[in-house]
Amino acid sequence: MTSTSISDPIAQQTRKLDTTKVRQAHITGWILLALAVLAALVFGAGSEGIATFRLSRPTDPWALPNLQVPAAAFNYLVAAVLAFLGVRQFLRGGLRWTGLSLGLGMILAVAAFLVWATAGKGFSLTGMLQATVVAAVPITLGGLAGVLSERVGVVNIAIEGMLLAGAFTGALLGSLVGGVGGLVAAVVIGGLFGFILAALVVTYRVDQIIAGVVINLFVLGVTSYVSSQVYSEHRFLNNAPIFSPIRIPVLADLPVLGPMLFQHNLFVYGAILLVTAATYYLFHTRMGLRARSVGEHPRAADTLGINVYRTRYINVTVAGMVAGFGGAWFTLGSVGRFDENMTNGLGYIGLAAMIFGRWHPVGALMAALIFGFANSLQQKLALLNTPIPSEFLAMAPYIATIVLVAGVVGRARAPAADGEAYVKE
């Protein structure tokens, strides 16, 4: 058998893929079984009474009744389903649904956890989902900026700096000329830093990671310097208006979905629109095909007459504009004032969301929603007084990310020419 497989590279290749798959399926199986044990012994045995989830406020036009879940029974049921999913991973045919099973398992485990934490108390589910969407906005836009520039082969570590620059400019110009002016200025500044990144890596062939780190350092330096040197004396420069929520008629009155999606300010709608537009642009237009070819094989693209340099300049600049818009959320969409380093690493989480989402706009959005969910979950759970230290709750989403990335996403493939300078001959 060995002799035939060596002479047949394709068979060898397939078998190699199969063993990876089998191993992934088994790892997933063990994770699911562990979750089942957790759900049964901790969440199931530890909960008493009924968990009450509030779905609507009584004043809502179409108020839904509260969701009443008998905690212990629900969690034992979840444990049974998890155990079933886990065992199935080791049986024949378990390979097919590995990713789906793990995703479903994670959702079930989170549900069991929520029921356990809420048992005997009440909890506003809708409020948490609303906060999830809001928290996901800057991560989505950061991730989208990453997708746009990495698809043309430019690694974008500078997302953090672009977000920060957008936040700063939004606050400064927002204070001077009003919200819309601030937003436009933030987008322009984001685009400017995108252009600088493109100039550094395309024209001056600076290592892409260095260029990104430099932009981050520079923006952090400038914004912190100005805010400590100038804002301390001239407070009126740091007092921007906040965009108010826009209720979309009818849709905003829907139960659960209304507050979750249709009662936000323009940043949420903007983010959803941009993700849609970017998906259409990258995968359904001629321009997008060209852009991706530049990211995969710039030499071939060049041979076909695509201007590699110009494509990179345009896409990275647009990516910067998206990040500038996301940055404005921090000030104009949220608190109305700039604080030193207020993005606080969210740009890096956006980067993680991009990789997690496999360099796809919608994937980045999904990943951002997971991070946003984790974030709001932690804040709301602080009100419920669970016996778990809040630090561990705060850690859980990051651990879950590692598990998911290791278990499901695995060797996600970056665009082939990601990070490489292209020298035209």
């Binding site: 260095i210 520079f218 990335v405």
Partner: protein, 380 residues
């Protein structure tokens, strides 16, 4: 610096290259950095002008920058003290770069290494110094190394991208440190805020210059820094392991076909990088801070990325970059005190220096008269 201009034609250029083969290297290593520092300082002054700082203050702040970094024994002591953790963590990141890994997680590794070192530092009363100090450092390095090895192992075993996992490990470490600082056996007695017990006197890295002035903070970690530079240089360029690191970084496929164990290289490189960052953390708690509090890593892990890049991932380059950043930091503190200019200006100057050093093409485009003409193409 324009006197370095040299009119050349093809022949004399060829002659010159035979006579002085390092001309291009010399330009890259000496002239470009000098330009970078000078231009960055000028642009820093422009930034101050733009924010309404008058000329006299700008002058005073640059005098303070120099005198605060190299102007006195105290200034040099401060510069070295700041440079030690930057260089140690920077070496780790450089090692990762050499092996083709981007370790954003130095910040978390510093925190975990530092926490482990603090716990070791206050838990063993009665140990003699000669045992206790090395123990603290080793435990710190081990903890940082193991923490980073998680990311390495995940990459090797499952292909999880190390950028994601190290970012996540950073975020986890912040929470972990917050939690640990409130544990009964770590939190200082009688305090409600998260702060650890103090490291015992026998576990502190000895101060070196107290015979001159008891306020000088320079400690024995400086030997650690130099030792680490030499060790990493030896490891990278004189050993088989270092060769495997570099080969895997240059071309992982070729390295694998040559029989190198890619997975092992990844885990070892990450582990070593983490050990160096953990050592930086141990060095901070045992040499400077004497205790741990939330965020005691103070962004060193991120500055270290810049240090590694600036030093071009070469051990001696990292040392120089670490010293430069340490000097800017020490000088910046003096600048804030003397001239009232925010220390954040240093961040701008650091960024500008790196961009000019990283982009020789940019410097050459801005200052064409500084360089011999034929050498305008960058080395790939």
């Amino acid at each position: 610096m324009s006197e370095t201009k040299k009119p050349t034609n093809g022949f004399s250029e060829a002659l010159l290259r035979r006579a002085a083969p390092d001309r291009a290297a010399w330009e890259d290593l000496v002239i470009v950095p000098l330009f970078a520092v000078v231009v960055a300082l000028l642009l820093g002054a422009a930034a101050m002008l733009a924010t309404d700082v008058d000329l006299a203050t700008i002058g005073r702040s640059y005098v303070a920058l120099v005198s605060g970094s190299v102007g006195s024994v105290n200034a040099i002591s401060e510069t070295l003290t700041s440079a030690i953790p930057l260089t140690l963590a920077g070496l780790g990141i450089a090692l990762g770069f050499r092996a083709g890994l981007f370790n954003i997680g130095a910040e978390g590794q510093i925190l975990i290494g530092g926490m482990a070192a603090v716990v070791t530092g206050f838990s063993f009363p009665g140990l003699p110094m000669i045992v206790h100090v090395p123990l603290v450092l080793i435990v710190g390095a081990l903890a940082g190394g193991l923490y980073a090895a998680i990311a390495g192992w995940l990459r090797a075993a499952t292909g999880a991208h190390e950028v994601i996992s190290t970012i996540m490990l950073n975020l986890i470490s912040y929470r972990l440190v917050d939690y640990m600082l409130r544990l009964d056996f770590i939190q200082r007695e009688g305090r409600s805020d998260p702060i650890s017990k103090s490291v015992l006197e026998n576990a502190e890295l000895p101060r070196l210059l107290t015979w001159l002035d008891p306020n000088l903070r320079l400690h024995a970690g400086v030997f650690l820094m130099i030792g680490a530079v030499i060790f990493i240089h030896w490891l990278l360029f004189k050993t088989r392991m270092g060769f495997e690191f570099r080969a895997s970084g240059e071309n992982p496929e070729a390295a694998r076909y040559a029989g190198m164990r890619a997975g092992l290289v990844i885990v070892l490189a990450m582990g070593l990088a983490g050990a160096l960052a953990g050592l930086a953390g141990a060095n901070q708690v045992s040499g400077v801070l004497g205790r741990a509090s939330p965020g005691f890593s103070a962004g060193i892990g991120f500055d270290a990325i810049a240090v590694a890049l600036l030093g071009r991932s070469h051990p001696w380059g990292v040392l120089l970059a670490g010293l430069l950043f340490g000097a800017l930091e020490a000088g910046g503190r003096q600048m804030q005190v003397d001239a009232g200019v925010s220390i954040d200006l240093i961040g701008i100057i650091q960024a500008l220096i790196i961009v000019f050093i990283a982009a020789p093409l940019l410097v050459r485009a801005l200052f064409p008269w500084g360089f011999s003409k034929a050498k305008t193409s960058a080395k790939e």
